[in-house]
């Protein structure tokens, strides 16, 4: 009897549940305790940026904003996209979704900018260093396959409830394509061109800025395009922790079971996505050398 209980004691480590949750909680607690002051500061700063730009956009009359966007879309992506922008944004104004649309737009744009700032250097690094590539790529796989909701939970202790937490989760979710496609774009530069640049005595930086990055721009733009789309897809999820914008309209509609309202907000997200998609795609194409 005694013997068997001892042996059961011995093996319980194998059968007991691993305390993975507890360990992760402890890690996050530790990080919160020591780094929250930093993230909170970033949070404050970003909140101000978001607030000011939202207020800035809202202080302008919608027709003026629509005109500016339409001209921008027309210049960057052609007449059709310009006309679509007028009609699409006009519809959103009419549906009284102007304010949440602008909030969402700013959330997406700021998240995309952060994702680019992080993504391009990491992309370049992983393209140039095989070691970095081997470390970064599995992390990206992890980041992308992990359900995006999960990021929301630890985001709150670091950044507090609201738009910045949402943005943190959005960036984590949306940065992988920026890194991947920057890496791909640089790796795709033909070996012969690299050799030519080397033969003339280019330094590593000259090669990067005069050859590799310029040639990678179409691919990088495709990555940015994907980043924007992923950021938009996070909008609804982020609304669960108070990000505001079109996502919270959808969220409200779900809770009140109002399919009509839900579709209105959903269509607004689609329109925004289409405008941003067409513009970024066109920029990518214009920069391709069409070999």
């Amino acid at each position: 009897m005694e013997n068997s209980s001892v042996s059961a004691d011995k093996w319980h480590y194998l059968t007991d549940k691993l305390p993975l949750d507890k360990e992760i909680d402890r890690l996050i607690d530790f990080l919160t305790e020591h780094f929250a002051f930093l993230t909170k500061a970033i949070s404050k700063y970003l909140e101000t940026v978001i607030e000011i730009s939202t207020q800035g956009l809202m202080s302008l009359p919608p027709w003026l904003v629509i005109t500016i966007f339409a001209i921008l879309a027309w210049r960057l992506a052609g007449r059709h996209v310009g006309i679509f922008t007028i009609l699409g944004l006009g519809l959103l104004w009419n549906l009284r979704l102007w304010e949440p649309t602008m909030e969402t737009l700013i959330l997406v744009v700021v998240a995309t900018i952060i994702a680019i700032i992080i993504g391009i250097p990491f992309g370049v690094w992983s393209a140039l260093s095989p070691m970095a590539y081997r470390i970064i790529m599995p992390i990206l796989d992890f980041m992308q396959t992990m359900p995006a909701f999960v990021y929301l939970i630890p985001a709150i202790p670091f950044f507090g409830l609201g738009a910045v937490s949402a943005m943190f989760a959005t960036v984590i979710f949306a940065v992988p394509p920026a890194i991947r496609l920057t890496c791909l774009g640089i790796k795709q530069v033909p070996k012969e061109l690299i050799e030519a640049a080397d033969a003339f005595g280019s330094t590593r930086w000259q090669k990067l800025f005069k050859l590799q990055l310029p040639l990678a721009i179409p691919t990088i733009m495709a990555g940015i395009n994907q980043t924007i789309m992923l950021a938009l897809s996070m909008v609804v999820i982020a609304a669960m922790i108070g990000a505001g914008g079109l996502g919270s309209e959808v969220w409200k509609a779900i809770q009140r079971l109002e399919p009509g309202k839900g579709f209105e907000a959903g269509i607004a997200i689609v329109i925004l996505a289409m405008i941003l998609d067409r513009i970024t795609q066109k920029i990518g194409k214009q920069n391709s050398p069409e070999r």
Binding site: P190, E192, L193, E195, A196, A197, D198, A199, F200, G201, S202, T203, Q206, K210, L211, P214, L215, P289, E290, R291
Partner: protein, 394 residues
């Protein structure tokens, strides 16, 4: 002094070459080493030099190591063993900075598939070498324009590379290499991707440019005709080793082994062989003061139908024919002054075979080969020409 000097350059494609090197020392072949170690042997103790202003052509089939070799010269590929001297300085020990500096100052490189930067227009492509040296913008624009003019592409400055034909793209490639005013041009199969006609044009143009510029050129090709046409000397490579180094004529006339022999079989020899390699030495002459009777006797005993008439110092005066001499003897002439035919076509030692054939077609007698002072060096006879053309072939 030699401009480029390669001494025992060996390349093994691996980071741990020790075992392969040992096996190489033991005399194993490239294939044996690969099957034993899995390491590819690129070059085996390649040595050669290139004189200032010379065009040295490295010729070999694919896999012979010629592309590896040219990249070792500017260390785009690091040689595993051996040394490379540029202007007498060993460059294998240079650090990264010094290497960049060397590439900028000494080398211009032209690539098989042009390797133009697709996002830059023509003038910006040509400027590239100067741009990375942070040259003044106006200066480099000026240099680039000059280089474009040199290759005959004025007016194309603003075009993009993909708007140009292959031949034009390679002219841009050449201009890009020339714009930095390098001492040495490295040309890696520069014309191999071009149509035969365009290729011929480019070869001629390179040679006329070279006549003016006097660069030192290392030219890689897999085309023996091209090698023999433009090379001052040719390095023949096989399996990473040098098989033969020599002038085109030496390679054709004295192939080092069966491999070279098989190679040169199908070459159009008429353009490369010159009078020098097929001339027949003359040891029978007619001197102006000789009597016709003596000359006829000389001809009959040696069974020849004609003799060249020379002065004592070997200056060519003309030719006497047996038939005419016999008539002169019958007439009782005392000198050969009247029977000497002075309207003789002459050639020099460097006259190519193809021109000799043209002369032979109109002149039934041996052709005298003379030097600059009209001194007789030898003669060209029919049979030797025919034999030279068929040598090697069955």
């Amino acid at each position: 002094m030699e401009k480029i000097r390669a001494v025992n350059v060996t390349k093994i494609f691996t980071s741990h070459p020790q075992r392969a090197l040992t096996l190489l020392e033991q005399g194993l072949s490239k294939d044996e080493i690969f099957s034993q170690t899995g390491q590819a042997v690129g070059l085996v103790k390649v040595s050669f030099d290139v004189g200032e202003g010379e065009i040295l052509v490295v010729m070999g089939l694919s896999g012979s190591g010629k592309s590896t070799l040219i990249r070792c010269i500017n260390r785009l590929i690091e040689p595993t063993q051996g040394q490379i001297f540029i202007d007498g300085n060993d460059i294998t020990s240079l650090d990264h900075r010094a290497l960049l500096e060397l590439r900028r100052r000494k080398f211009g490189m032209v690539f098989q598939h042009f390797a133009l930067f697709p996002q830059r227009n023509i003038i910006n492509n040509v400027e590239y070498g100067l741009e990375i040296q942070q040259m003044d913008k106006l200066f480099r624009r000026d240099k680039a324009r000059q280089a474009l003019k040199l290759v005959g592409l004025e007016g194309w400055e603003a075009a993009m590379p993909n708007q140009l034909s292959g031949g034009m793209q390679q002219r841009v490639g050449l201009a890009r290499a020339l714009a930095v005013d390098p001492d040495i041009l490295l040309m890696d199969e520069a014309f191999s991707a071009l149509d035969p006609l365009i290729r011929g044009d480019m070869q001629n143009e390179l040679m006329s440019l070279q006549a003016r510029m006097k660069k030192t050129i290392l030219f890689i090709t897999h085309d023996l005709d091209e090698a023999l046409k433009i090379g001052n000397r040719v390095v023949l490579m096989k399996d990473g080793q040098v098989v033969q180094i020599g002038t085109p004529e030496e390679i054709l006339t004295t192939p080092a082994n069966d491999y070279v022999k098989r190679f040169v079989e199908n070459v159009d020899k008429s353009k490369i062989l010159t009078a020098r390699s097929i001339l027949t030495e003359i040891n029978l002459f007619a001197y102006l003061e000789d009597q016709p009777r003596d000359i006829l006797h000389k001809m009959q005993t040696n069974k020849v139908a004609s003799l060249f008439v020379v002065k004592r110092d070997n200056t060519l005066l003309g030719i006497v024919l047996a038939e005419v001499t016999r008539q002169a003897v019958e007439r009782g002439d005392k000198t050969i002054a009247n029977i000497t035919e002075s309207q003789v076509p002459t050639v020099i030692t460097t006259t190519p075979l193809i021109q000799l054939i043209r002369v032979l077609a109109k002149w039934p007698w041996p052709i005298p080969v003379v030097d600059k002072e009209n001194k007789l060096q030898g003669m060209i006879v029919n049979q030797r020409v025919l034999k030279a053309l068929t040598k090697g072939g069955e």
